[in-house]
Subunit: 339 residues, 2 copies
DNA sequence: TTGAAAGCGCTAACAT
DNA sequence: ATGTTAGCGCTTTCAA
């Protein structure tokens, strides 16, 4: 491993100039810069991040705290963030909080404090007041994705609007008995998300002059299996079966499709089903859904941090653009069967 | 942020003693140690990883290079590795190589060289000779998971044996016409894995005195969709339909189950289906499968590295124990229909 | 067992 | 625009 000194010697300049040329801070003549670049390339020089961080206080490393790795939304956000960081020359250090509360504590009391990261992205995590405060005291920027954190810049789709859109799609097709599979409250990772989606659903019904029937709600855990069981309940009733189901996630919607099939119902002829996400499998199952773009959310979180960490870089302005979502109509929704 | 000096002052010892007491290297009297621990706790002292790394050359950080984040096997390995590392006080820095070859180059030429990691775990990646050499030159231990890397300690299940086991399960039930859905060769991430599984399948058939019929092989891409289409081909033939399918992954097996259903076939009455993985969804679909334990593989990779990085720690001996796998019989396999 | 002090390799004032 | 140099906050010899 060649050091900065060797590069300086080979380029015939001082180490300070090498540092400046390589990091882009401060002015360096084009001539020196190219000499430095050549020398560095020739020696295969790569800056020692530790020495650099120690001297500068910047690590070029972002911590991502995330509760799941094996769920579509989360891995997509992570993928988006990782890609964006790589492009900016940043590393991503991963903290997967798998429920264990001791783990969570040690991450916040220890790992995040050892000056290894410049900023933190928290995915679908309701950070506590002290957790936020701790990061704030350290001067570490923090941005949330997909879960509201009080006092912190957070990227979330408008869950009420998304749910309303999905429900209105069904209403527009003529459905009146629309069931909803939402979150169960034990699933309190992010209490607001299922609640907001339920509100969107209820608002859409109310606006259409339809009374909300609590028997048409079934809770589940956002998995295929959960959606399957919930839909069995909803669709198995002998009379007044709903003609449509709006599930708060694509996985639950897919579970519902499978449940419908098992009950001998043809989707969408007998029952229409719509989800939220545009999961990888949605297309395969012909699922109509409201797409959100978690990858993009991860990228966006990075852009926001870059704005704060490297002001004056080329990143786009952090205008408070709402996150996009989009109805994707496939073959799981149609007009209801004639009464 | 309290520094080591403040801790030293409060504890009434030198910074050297604080360092020793906290890191556990070198001898410290019990008395000093407890004074140091108290002082550190009281001040909320956390060592600066940069300063520590710079001085010691150890980072307590492991790089994980992985091609996918959104697939069950990969996210499970990652989860296992992350958990194990956390327990050892290590951070995990993630490098997700999403196919882009420039990305891969920059990770190996740059990111991994900036002294930010003590070792590297490569998941299902065929590292090239120079890539391995580069890490080797830096003295960074490297361990592979799930893909053979020449000259590197690698954790992989015995794919031949696993496939043989799955196939023998079907044979034992009385099946004779057993189809196989394996990898397509474009899917060359890890060329050996599908090949080995195919060999295991073929070996089992041969040993049972059954001729391998190439028409009973269908390639797919390890996804549900891919398995679905492959199974449609296999099961849609008008005569001599196979009575069983062995799919090289659970996702493809699940696709096969869905395909069978669409063709009006009842699983396992009309066709038996077995996979490999014990994917999260296997249980839901009643899929018989050979379980591998990717989480465990991730943990194990960490243990091996710890052994090298912190000799004499408490880790288990790195005996060359083969990775476990296990047949899980559920409801997707049964005796074949009477001819 | 402990302390003093010399770095680890780089960055950022400051000076020129 | 460039060089000089004093740290960044620890760890680790070395000596006591």
């Amino acid at each position: 491993m060649a050091g900065i000194e060797e590069v300086a010697r080979l380029a015939g300049v001082s180490t300070a100039t090498v540092s400046r040329a390589l990091s882009g801070r401060g002015h360096v003549s084009a001539a020196s810069k190219s000499k430095v670049l050549d020398a560095a390339a020739q020696l295969g020089y790569v800056v020692s991040s530790n020495a650099s961080s120690l001297a500068s206080g910047r690590t070029r490393n972002i911590g991502v705290v995330i509760p799941f790795l094996n769920r579509w939304f989360f891995s997509s956000v992570l993928e988006g963030a990782q890609g964006a960081l790589l492009r900016h020359g940043y590393d991503l250090t991963l903290y997967n909080l798998s429920g264990d509360s001791g783990e969570r504590a040690s991450v916040f009391e220890h790992f995040l404090l050892r000056q290894r990261v410049d900023a933190v992205i928290a995915v679908s995590l309701e950070l506590t007041e002290p957790e936020v405060a701790r990061l704030h005291d350290l001067g570490k920027p923090l941005v949330g994705v997909g879960g509201p954190i009080s006092g912190v810049r957070t990227l979330t789709i408008d869950d009420v609007a998304v749910a309303r859109l999905a429900t209105e799609h069904l209403l527009a097709l003529g459905h009146r008995r629309i069931a909803h599979i939402g979150g169960d409250l034990e699933n309190d990772l992010d209490f607001h998300l299922p609640t907001n989606r339920r509100h969107g659903y209820e608002n859409a019904l109310s606006d259409a002059g339809i009374e909300v029937d609590p028997r048409l709600f079934a809770p589940a855990d956002f998995t295929i299996r959960g959606g399957f069981h919930a839909a069995k309940q909803l669709l198995g009733v002998p009379r007044d079966r709903p003609t449509a189901i709006f599930a708060a996630s694509d996985e639950m919607a897919i579970g519902s499709i499978l449940a419908a099939r098992e009950l001998g119902l043809v989707v969408p002829r007998d029952v229409s089903i719509v989800g939220i996400d545009d999961h990888d499998l949605a297309d395969f199952f012909g699922l109509s859904t409201v797409a959100q773009f978690p990858r993009f959310q991860g990228e966006k979180a990075v852009e926001i941090l870059m704005e704060q960490l490297e002001p004056g870089s080329d990143s786009a302005p952090p205008a408070a653009t709402p996150l996009p979502f989009e109805l994707r109509v496939r073959s799981s929704t149609a007009t209801p069967p004639p009464a």
